[in-house]
């Protein structure tokens, strides 16, 4: 084949390849990129009670800085994020180690372990709403039969965030565990053999060898969970809608309510863009961390 003919073939092939990704790219631009640009524009608008919109400059953003609910929502978002992430990473690593040492995992056990995070978060919310009912729930019955005082769980302003973190951790700890298990299974066995010959006990090998080698996997799990945790919505909306009072009013819940309950689309856009910046900032920070712990 001559050079010219080869170039023509290559060009045609490139064109055909572009045609293959075109539907996905056009769809994403139409459904994501264009709407996001539109949201940025909406963030500079105000909507009157009659639905008339007018240009407002940075008014929505200066409102945000002086809005108590925004700062409260940011604090709630971060508290829920840190609490849930720590619970899921600690118990996820523990569960992964338990699964790893069980050697053989029948399919049925695996199915059982994935069932919490494959069920709709909304269903998890409905289920825990009944279990954690302050007066008739099974959770308080168990507490009382153990001689412990009953709790108000989701109905308590001070306990609602830890309770939601517990529900989310029930759902997603097995997911973290399965990711970490994948990391454990890919560790070179020679490292352990060498440590064993040197007389290291399991209590010494875990913090000194296993954990450092696992860190990249753990950070990956942390990134995947962070993205979901910072925009946490389903379980809160189904169980408390941000309550009691505003005790579980995360930024995402607050933004949703400003937009679709009070129909202040302009201010809601400013809130959501801020939250999106926080999510992407967190992902970038974790990515740096992953680079630092890679081996």
């Amino acid at each position: 084949m001559s050079d010219a003919a080869a170039t023509i073939t290559r060009d045609r092939q490139r064109l055909e390849m572009s045609a293959l990704s075109a539907p996905a790219v056009i769809f994403t631009v139409a459904m994501i990129a264009f709407p996001v640009v539109y949201t940025i524009w909406l963030g500079f608008q105000t909507f009157s009670s009659t639905g008339k919109q007018s240009f407002a400059g940075l008014a929505n953003y200066s409102k945000l800085i002086s809005d108590y609910e925004f700062w409260h929502g940011l604090w709630i978002t971060i508290a829920l994020f840190v609490l849930s992430l720590v619970l899921q990473l600690v118990f996820g690593v523990w569960l992964a180690l338990v699964l790893f040492h069980a050697k053989r995992l029948p399919g049925i056990v695996r199915s059982l372990f994935i069932s919490p995070f494959m069920m709709p978060p909304v269903v998890a919310g409905m289920m825990w709403l009944v279990i954690l009912d302050p007066s008739l729930g099974a959770a308080n019955y168990i507490l009382q039969s153990l001689g412990l005082p009953p709790s108000d769980w989701l109905a308590s302003p001070s306990l609602v965030i830890p309770t939601i973190a517990l529900i989310d951790s029930w759902q997603w700890t097995p997911y973290v565990a399965l990711i970490v298990l994948g990391g454990l299974q890919s560790l070179p066995p020679s490292v352990y053999e060498a440590a064993q010959i040197d007389g290291a006990t399991p209590f010494k090998t875990f913090p000194r060898i296993t954990l450092p080698l696992l860190l990249p996997t753990i950070v990956t799990a942390a990134i995947l969970r962070s993205v979901d945790l910072l925009r946490f919505f389903d379980i809160i909306y189904i169980t408390t809608q941000g309550g009691p009072g505003n005790a579980s009013n995360t930024l995402n819940i607050y933004g949703f309510r400003v937009g679709f309950e009070f129909f202040n689309i302009g201010y809601a856009s400013a809130l959501m863009l801020t939250l999106t910046a926080i999510v992407f900032g967190a992902v970038l920070a974790f990515n740096r961390l992953r680079g630092a712990v890679a081996w």
């Binding site: 790219v25 539109y38 909406l42 019955y141 949703f256 809601a268």
Partner: protein, 275 residues
């Protein structure tokens, strides 16, 4: 030597105890939900809670009588199947092209969409769909849910396409085979199992998705998940019917996920981890 064997046995037992404990914590709430759905109404709210009871289907009967449960389920099915089909239609060729050309930005673009909070898109969609009178239409719901399914399809299929030896394609190319033909006739049959996993994961996540249908559906097109809210409102004293609804809503994703459990985790991490 016997000491070492004994220690080994104890460690194994301790591990088994922990495994069983974790299994109980993971399973108990779901088992409780399913049990409650089969309890007679006076026993669902009994305190102390009962474990032994005569199972009944009353809650399920009541659920279908007092709520349009079946039409909600049909709506869910239409939206989920539609968005999964759309995700596969756009995602399969895109994944193939990304894998072949190593030009990754189309895949990363769809992934960025997965990372942003859904409300970010929902606000402009709401304004735009309202302007063209599409709020409450299946089209709006299917298009919005395809935003969920498309990145799943692309990222689950990428490693599958990457796993095919390039020589197969190059040979076909030398024979004058067009790229589209290579995709449908040669590559796709080779990644059939990957397509199945992608389709099931897309189905599960589209079925489970709450936020978009909450705003974009109306009384006629409400999906099961968006309607869950109504069940809670009506069911404040009707825990039996509420748990029956929860059980039925969770059933399709759980059954499907069990089918592909072996490939699920690597698929779910969108290629970040090979499980």
């Amino acid at each position: 030597m016997t000491d070492a064997v004994n220690t080994d046995r104890w460690i194994r037992r301790l591990n088994l105890v922990q495994l069983v404990l974790a299994g109980i914590i993971i399973m108990a709430p779901t088992v409780w939900m399913v049990l409650s759905s089969f309890k007679p109404s006076f026993e669902v709210t009994a305190y102390p809670p009962t474990l032994v009871f005569t199972p009944t289907l009353d809650n399920y009967v009541e659920l279908t009588k007092t709520t349009p449960f079946l039409s909600y389920a049909l709506n869910s099915l239409i939206v989920t199947v539609g968005s999964t089909a759309l995700g596969l239609l756009f995602g399969i060729p895109a994944a193939f092209a990304v894998s072949w050309t190593r030009i990754t930005w189309p895949a990363i673009l769809t992934l960025a969409a997965r990372m942003a909070p859904g409300t970010l898109f929902l606000l402009p969609w709401y304004v735009m769909f309202r302007q063209v009178g599409m709020i409450g239409s299946y089209t709006a719901l299917i298009l919005s849910h395809a935003v969920i399914t498309l990145p799943i399809v692309i990222w689950v299929l990428l490693p599958s396409f990457d796993g095919i030896p390039r020589s197969i394609f190059e040979a076909a190319q030398v024979d004058g085979c067009r790229v589209t033909r290579i995709l449908w006739r040669i590559a796709l049959p080779l990644v059939a199992s990957g397509v199945a996993v992608a389709a099931i994961l897309a189905f599960v996540f589209s079925w489970n998705y709450f936020l978009f249908a909450l705003v974009l559906s109306n009384g006629d097109t409400k999906t099961l998940i968006a309607a869950a809210f109504n069940f809670i409102g009506e069911g404040s004293t009707q825990w039996g019917a509420l748990m029956a609804a929860a059980t039925l809503i969770a059933l399709p994703p759980l059954v499907l996920a069990a089918l592909v459990q072996r490939w699920l985790v690597s698929g779910l991490t969108l290629g970040a981890v090979k499980g």
